[in-house]
Structure formats: C-alpha cells, structure tokens
C-alpha cells in the first residue's frame, strides 16, 4: 500500500510541475506589468524599473520560473500586492471557508445523490426512478449562479428562512480557531452558534451541491444497474440474501468505485463553482479570494490561489485513487 501511494505520488510530480509552469506562464501572459501595479498610478518610470529589477522581472523567464519554483519548495507563495501579506499566511482562513462549504456541499451531494441513485436503480422504471432522473437532469442543467440567486431571492429575501450571505451571524461572532466554524463552535460548545453556521451553509451549500448531486445520482444509478446485473449479485441472491443487503452491501460497494471517480472529479467542479457561489453568497473563501485578486491584478495571489486550488483538486483525486485501493483488493499495491 505504501508503495502504491508512493508510486502515485511520484506520478504526480510531472503533473504538479506542469501545473506550476502553466500558472507561471498564464500570469506572465496577462497583460500589464506587476511592478507598475505594485507601485500604483503615480510611480515614476525609474521607480518601476528599479522594482522590476528587485523582483527579478528583468531575468529571462526560465530563471524567473526556477526562482519561483525554488520559492514554492520553501513554502513561499509570494506576497499579496494589495495587502502586502505573505499569501501562505493569508490564505488559510479563505481555504478553511471554502473547505467547509465544499465539504458540506459534497456531503449533501453524496448522501442524497448516492441514495437517490441506488433507489432508482433498485426500482428501475418506477415513478421514483423517473422523477429522480428527470430532476437529476434538470439539476445538471442548472446554471449555479442563477440557482444561487433564485435561492437567495426565494428562501432568504421572500421567505426569510436563511441568511442571504456570509458565514456567520456577525452579531454573535465566532472566535475562529481552526477556521472551520462547525468544528470551532462544537469544540467551544457553542451550539447556538453551530446552528447559525449551519443556517448560513444551507443556501450556498445547496447551490454548490446541486450539479454534483445530480451527476452522482445518475452515475450511481447506471453503475448500480450494471453491478446488479452481475453474476455475484445473482450469487448473493441465490444464497437467500435479502434484497436490501444485496443492494447496500454487495452491489453498493462495487458500484461505488466509478462513483468515487465522479466524486473526485466533482470536487473540481465544486472548487471551480466556488468562485461563483462565493461571489453570490459573499462567502469569504478561496474562490472569491482569487477572483478579487484577478480584478485587482494581485499576481502572487492569483498565481498561488490557482495553484492551491489545482493542488487540492489533484490531491483529492489522489485520495480517491487510494480509496480505490482500499475498497478494491484487486488493485495491486505491491
């Protein structure tokens, strides 16, 4: 197993290097001069030149790239041009906010999606199946920014069931420790605040969860249908096993493998969708952090933010791969 993980990690290296390179090149390609941006509107030409030299922008691109890589290895993600803070330090609360939201969303998506898929497959062609699958199709077709706005309008403004935006009730602020408010409030025993945190999570969580949920439901269904046709399911039934256990024990474990891939891939959608959702719901997460950085051309933040998101995405898929190995004994890890 260790060997297997090691191998997967090694295989990641070119991808990770490639990622840094892509990010690096994109940033270089964005029109505009970082030095000028740092110095602002009034800076003299000389000052800009001086700063360019200081930042190493005069060097050929490959030297810049290797310096950038060197920095990355030492955990140096650069410094925000706007706030002058090291990105590596600044980024954590944003990440935590996004993680919490994404985790909540994927939880909803998985619980509802997987079960809907299972039941649809189990009772294939039933009214439940049809309804669930039509809903799932509508779900995949939903522009999440629109869904988010509609949710906000209906459930926050018109009905007032949930707050319109943000992570917490600022009147009753949470003292952040880990940055995961659910964890923080539980550890502090502040269950009143936990309720608030959950209330704030609902709307953006659903907006973010809709598409993955629909995709997971569809995937689970088709994967289950295939598994249900397999010989070992017949074997389990021939033993006299109850249908419920046949489905939830024998079939699900087999069906979950392709679903896992989808979940891994959906995390990418989720992290990407976070940009939109976080903008709509004023969620102080990494997506908004990057998006605002783009608007202010805060290069180090854009660069590191994109890299971090991609890195997380890659890592999630690595974890998915490892999970395969745990679930499926056929995957060799010697």
């Amino acid at each position: 197993m260790v060997n297997y993980i090691g191998r997967r990690l090694l295989q990641l290296i070119p991808v990770l290097l490639g990622m840094t390179f892509v990010v690096f090149m994109i940033i270089r390609a964005i029109p505009g001069d970082p030095a000028q941006v740092i110095l602002g509107q009034l800076a003299s030409k000389e000052a800009v030149e001086a700063l360019r030299a200081k930042l190493g922008l005069d060097n050929p691109w490959y030297i810049q790239y290797f310096e950038y890589l060197g920095g990355l290895f030492q955990g140096d993600l650069g410094e925000s041009l706007r706030t002058k803070q090291p990105v590596a330090e600044e980024v954590w609360p944003y990440l935590a906010a996004t993680f919490e939201l994404a985790f909540f969303a994927i939880l909803i998506a998985v619980i509802i999606g997987v079960n809907a898929g299972i039941i649809s497959a189990w009772f294939q062609n039933s009214w439940f199946d049809y309804t669930a699958m039509v809903l799932a199709l509508v779900g995949v077709s939903m522009p999440i920014f629109w869904l988010g706005l509609m949710e906000q309008w209906i459930f926050a403004i018109e009905l007032g069931w949930f707050p319109t935006s943000g992570r917490e009730d600022v009147r009753n602020p949470i003292s952040a420790q880990s940055g995961f408010y659910i964890l923080d409030t539980i550890m502090q025993g502040r269950f009143d605040q936990l309720g608030q945190v959950l209330r704030h999570l609902v709307l953006p969580g659903i907006a973010l969860a809709t598409i993955p949920m629909a995709i997971i439901a569809r995937m689970t269904r088709s994967s289950m249908l295939e598994v249900m046709r397999s010989d070992y399911i017949r074997t389990a039934r021939a033993k006299g096993q109850k249908m419920f256990w046949v489905v939830y024990k024998h079939a699900l474990k087999n069906a979950v493998i392709p679903v896992l891939t989808v979940i891994g891939l959906q995390m990418g959608l989720l992290l990407g969708g976070a940009i939109l959702t976080e903008t709509i719901f004023s969620w102080p997460g990494i997506g908004r952090y990057v998006y605002e950085a783009i608007q202010f051309r805060d290069y180090p933040v854009i660069q590191s933010g994109i890299l971090i998101i991609a890195f997380i995405f890659v890592m999630i898929n690595l974890i998915v791969d490892i999970l395969y190995g745990l679930i499926d004994p056929r995957i060799k890890y010697d």
């Binding site: 060997n3 090694l10 010697d334």
Partner: protein, 334 residues
C-alpha cells in the same frame, strides 16, 4: 522431402511485466518460450493446449502481428522475421487468419461487402467491379448468399459471422490460414458446419491450415498433425493418429484422459492432474510441467527437456524419453 511451407525455429515471446515505483520491467511473462515446428503444404497442423499456454501468441507471431522476442519464421522460403514492415504487409497476402470471436472480429460499422473488399483493396487486387463480383463469389463459397453483402455483421448469427471471417481470409487467395480457435465460440451444431466448410475449402483450394483449439476432439478431427502446448512450450508433436493413440508426454496423457466422451459406456483411464497451471510470469524451473507431473523426477526440476524425435515423426519434450532415461527405466523396471 520437400521443404515445409512454414518453418518455425526457437520462437519466443516474452511480455515485460512493469511494476515498481518507476514502472521498471520487473519480470517477463514467458508466453511463448522456444517453440519450433514446421507445417507442410496442404496439411493441417493442430495446436492444442489449455488456456494461456501461448497458442494465440504463437499464431500471431507467425504473421508478425506480434513481434517475436526471438526466433525465426520461414514461410515459403522467405524469412518473415527479417522483413520490413512494408514487405511484411505484402507477405500477409499469402498468410491469413481466422479469429476466435465471431462477434469482435468484424467491424460493426462496415457492411459485409466492405469487410470482404478490404483485403482486395489493400493488396490492389482487381477493380471495383471485379471486386464486387469476387465478394459475391466468396460469399457463396462459404455458404452464404450474395444478397448478404449489403448487411452488417450484427445481422448474422455466430456461425454465419465465422463464415464471413473465413471468406475474408480467403479473399487474397492465401496459401496458409492460421485459424485461432475458429469454432470455440460456436454451438455444437454450428461448429460442425464450420469444420466441414473448412475441410471442404482445404480440399478445393489447396490450403494449409494451422488450427488452434483447445477442444481435443475438434483438433483430432481436422488435423493431420497435432502439437500440444503447455506453458509456452511445445511438449509433444506428432501425427494425430499417433498422438491420440499413443500419447507419450504425461501431460498429453492427462489431457486426453480428462476429455469427457459422449458415450456413457466408455470408461477411460483416469489421470487426474493435481492443482492449476502455474503462471507464465513465474514458470517452474526445469520442465514446466514437473509441479503437476505424476512421474516427476529430480532431474525434471532442473533441466529443461528438449523436443526430441523419439519415434519417427513423433516429437516429445520429456526427460522420461531421454535416451539414457529409457535405459535407466529398463534397468529400474527390471
């Protein structure tokens, strides 16, 4: 004696097994390991053996659909193993193949006509009109009708597809046909039709066959000579009369005795082999059969037996028939 149509010497195919952190080659699957035989013009050589013993690999190497790791294949005086890719493609006009799976070996998106015309186009035989005519002729030769030309493979039954496969192999008027389990996927009643057809064609078109199969009955029926393979090696090769009447190799004996005979009154000598076929990636030392051989001796574990002609036209690779062994046995037996 005239020169054989096809001569195979020391043919080997090792598939690398990649593994470990860097995908290094950590071993080899010895799919075919030092096989030699010849085929005379107009005869049928049967090759039998259990699954995974390297029959198909051998067959494919003869046409260089797989590049041999080692060894020499001489066809009609021409050494195929040294031809360039271009020349080899030309040479394939003379050697054709019929495949096992009648469902997979025909492109589902092409009509029968297109499938059958392809070899003609490739080898630049005839013009469109004469090609069409040839297609019709050959359809009739293999027992189909000319109106079948416009249909797609999925509209045919397994037996009919196999006929199409045979027709395709015949289009270029080849000398040698390698048939890799052409009847294994067919029902018994259909199998007989195809076997009869192949025999008829052989008579009429003076074909030479290499007939690969695992059904000993079928092989006996169609072959003039039969080679028995075990774990990548040819263990016995003799005329079919001799081989079935008087098998020499312990494996051949066991194999023959294991075949159920459709006669309830027939009682056979039972030699039940213990255990399974070892993996070709880690074959036993010495004689690869020694792990299951009831007559295994110390020597068998170390020394690889060579295929020797112990009787006229009867070759066997077994230490029991080493010249000195025969003496020894006589000594011990007395």
């Amino acid at each position: 004696m005239t020169e054989p149509l096809l001569k195979v010497e020391g043919l080997k195919k090792y598939f690398p097994v990649r593994n470990g952190l860097f995908g290094k080659t950590t071993g080899h699957v010895k799919a075919v390991d030092d096989v030699s035989f010849y085929v005379n013009e107009g005869e049928t050589l049967g090759i039998v053996g259990e699954s995974g013993c390297g029959k198909s690999t051998t067959g494919r190497m003869l046409m260089r659909l797989l590049e041999p790791t080692e060894g020499k294949v001489t066809f009609d005086g021409q050494e195929l193993t040294t031809l360039s890719a271009q020349e080899m493609r030309k040479a394939r006009r003379e050697i054709q193949m019929v495949f096992q799976d009648p469902y997979a070996s025909l492109n589902p998106r092409h009509t029968v006509e297109k499938i059958l015309m392809e070899p003609l186009i490739v080898h630049n035989i005839g013009d469109t009109k004469s090609r069409k005519k040839m297609v019709k002729d050959f359809l009739e030769i293999v027992g189909l009708s000319s109106y079948h030309a416009k249909r797609y493979p999925h509209q045919f039954s397994g037996g009919q597809r196999q006929r199409i496969g045979i027709a395709r192999a015949l289009m270029t008027n080849p000398k040698l046909i390698i048939a890799d389990e052409p009847v294994s996927a067919l029902d018994v009643s259909i199998q007989a039709q195809v076997l009869n057809l192949m025999q008829k064609l052989q008579r009429e078109l003076k074909l030479t066959y290499i007939f690969i199969a695992h059904d000993l009955g079928v092989v006996r029926h169609i072959s003039d000579r039969v080679g028995v393979m075990y774990l990548g090696k040819m263990v016995e090769l003799a005329s079919s009369e001799n081989l079935y009447a008087e098998p020499l190799h312990p494996y051949t004996k066991a194999l023959l005795s294991a075949v159920p005979v459709p006669d309830p009154n027939f009682t056979r000598e039972e030699i039940l082999l213990e255990g399974d076929i070892p993996s070709p990636s880690n074959p036993p030392s010495g004689c690869t059969f020694h792990t299951r051989c009831p007559f295994a001796m110390e020597q068998c574990k170390q020394v690889v037996p060579q295929l020797e002609e112990v009787k006229p036209g009867h070759y066997v690779a077994c230490h029991l028939y080493d010249a000195d062994m025969i003496d020894k046995k006589i000594v011990e037996g007395s």
